[in-house]
């Protein structure tokens, strides 16, 4: 099955870059969550992944990160398999606030240094260029004054910026962000948007999962709507129009009042 899919991609002569997902079926904890998901995010793009809670956003991210094994389908990052891509350290993941133990006794600096583990030796001994990269990444997200603070003492927005800095230190080419604007102040949002735009303009591929429809148009140039499968994929203003939204959020086509409420 897997080989067949790969051959299919080769036959069509499509040379995949960025994130390519073909016919992905996946289930999480015994429940089927994704059906025949096909998508392609090109490098240099900021793409929003929009859907309700339980629409399969997290499952898709887990499949991309290799936490769950898909039932069928292929995932490619710049033509590499997930395993190859992760081993090369090209993917960075910014987790949801709830997925992290904030009382963990680590400083901001330590977390950002973890972005360098992939390029260090097997003991992960920090070299001068690692310290330099960590310092630069922390400066880029305006956390210089917080480098020696324990992560739990930071605000919601600062916490997100720590993980973004980790991705910068990692020099990841592909960034996956899970709800980066949840509980984030305006200033942090501004910094995060600035950094992500900057990365995309240098050819990085950025996929942002969110159910916050207000923040996305500021950030993304395209969006994917999912509700267990891809409902729409295109420029952000087209995707976020009421008809697509009503399908993504599982509302009746005739019920046109509700989607407008969602976008307001």
């Amino acid at each position: 099955m897997w080989t067949m899919r790969r051959n299919h991609a080769a036959e069509t002569g499509h040379d995949p870059t960025g994130i390519t997902v073909q016919d992905l079926n996946a289930s999480y904890e015994g429940v089927s969550a994704l059906h025949d998901v096909c998508l392609n995010v090109e490098p240099g793009h900021l793409c929003g992944l929009v859907g309700m809670n339980g629409a399969g956003k997290s499952t898709l991210f887990k499949a991309l990160m290799g936490v769950i094994t898909p039932d069928s389908g292929t995932i490619r990052f710049s033509g590499m398999t997930g395993r190859q891509a992760r081993r090369s350290g090209m993917i960075s993941y910014v987790p949801q606030q709830e997925d992290i133990d904030w009382s963990f006794p680590l400083l901001v600096e330590d977390v950002v240094m973890m972005g360098r583990y992939g390029v260090q030796n097997w003991l992960r001994t920090p070299r001068r260029q690692d310290r330099e990269a960590v310092r630069a990444a922390i400066a880029r997200v305006d956390l210089d004054d917080f480098a020696h603070r324990q992560i739990g003492s930071l605000s919601g927005g600062q916490r997100k910026r720590v993980f973004l800095a980790r991705g910068l230190a990692q020099q990841a080419r592909i960034l996956l962000l899970d709800e980066p604007f949840a509980g984030v102040d305006k200033r942090s949002e501004y910094t995060i948007v600035g950094v992500l735009r900057d990365l995309a303009s240098r050819g990085a591929t950025v996929l942002v999962a969110s159910h916050d429809l207000h923040a996305l148009p500021n950030l993304c140039d395209e969006a994917i709507l999912i509700n267990h499968t891809v409902i729409a994929h295109g420029p952000i203003d087209e995707v976020l129009e009421p008809y697509s939204l009503s399908r993504a959020f599982g509302l009746e086509d005739t019920d046109d009042a509700a989607p407008q409420e969602l976008t307001r």
């Binding site: 936490v67 350290g89 006794p105 680590l106 330590d110 973890m114 739990g152």
Partner: protein, 282 residues
């Protein structure tokens, strides 16, 4: 005061007391170090389960004349495998319930094996420890097991920490959470065997949990925890061994009580303790 000092110096004149102290201190370093990651990951119950589940392995090793570590390791791995198997096949049952359901029969199997094996006195020492009866051979075995564990855990401290903190990120920098998880479980199984001499199977888990929790109250930086935790455990061991000598009480039990005393003090007076936090809030 002088009387106490005299009592303690004379205690160290005995060979068996010196062996007990050295064995206890080696155990303290190993347990204290591993304890940091265990409490940070939230694996206290896993530590509890593994420390009890190795009993049948240890008894079988005794019967077959193998080193205890071999049987213990085999049964630790069987336990971990059983827990993850039962968990993956049914989403109905909660993890802590499955862990409890797996390790208690393992312990029971060990108890049954002891009851049918001649020479019961030796095997009871496995349950409750026998620090005062440590032979030179035992001491060498504990030292080797501990040295291996401490060196590996210390060298791989950054991998263990990223695994404990954010396993998803570990994947994205090419570190396999499965491999590091398996490594930590293996080190844990070896540590349990090493600590059997000092405190016995029933109390090993306290050596694996209390030090890490106490150290966390002293510092909010993991790299400091990694030496504070063994240090606290060593201090509690020294106190425990002397008190048990002076009062003629169970050595293993007294060491654990000393641990608990240190924890209570840390909970109140340490930099991250109750009083300091209350003061900061005002």
């Amino acid at each position: 005061m002088n009387d106490i000092l005299t009592l303690l110096t004379t205690a160290m004149d005995y060979d068996f007391m010196r062996r007990a102290m050295v064995t206890g201190l080696i155990t303290a370093v190993t347990c204290g170090l591993l304890s940091c990651w265990l409490v940070l990951i939230g694996w206290s119950l896993i530590g509890d389960a593994l420390s009890h589940a190795v009993l049948p392995g240890v008894v079988l090793s005794y019967i077959l004349g193998l080193p205890f570590a071999v049987g213990a390791l085999v049964f630790a791995l069987i336990t971990v495998w059983l827990i993850s198997l039962l968990r993956s096949k049914s989403t109905l049952l909660k993890e802590d319930a499955i862990i409890g359901t797996v390790f208690t029969p393992m312990l029971a199997l060990g108890v049954v094996l002891i009851s049918v094996t001649p020479s019961q006195t030796d095997l009871n020492h496995i349950l409750f420890g026998n620090l005062l009866g440590v032979t030179d051979q035992d001491l060498i075995q504990v030292a080797i097991l501990s040295a291996v564990t401490v060196v590996i855990a210390y060298l791989k401290r950054r991998d263990l920490t990223v695994f404990a903190f954010d396993p998803m990120h570990a994947r994205s920098v090419g570190i396999s959470p499965q491999v590091i998880g398996a490594l930590l479980l293996t080190l844990l199984a070896i540590t349990v065997v090493a600590a059997l001499q000092a405190v016995g199977i029933t109390l090993v888990v306290s050596m694996l949990i209390i030090p890490g929790v106490s150290a966390r109250l002293f510092t909010s930086w993991i790299w400091h925890m990694l030496w504070i935790s063994p240090l606290i455990t060593m201090a509690a061991t020294v106190l425990g061994v002397f008190v048990s000598y002076a009062l003629d009480t169970s050595t293993g039990g007294t060491i654990v009580l000393a641990q608990a005393l240190f924890f209570a003090l840390a909970y109140c007076f340490a930099p991250q303790g109750l009083i300091a936090r209350y003061r900061r809030r005002r």
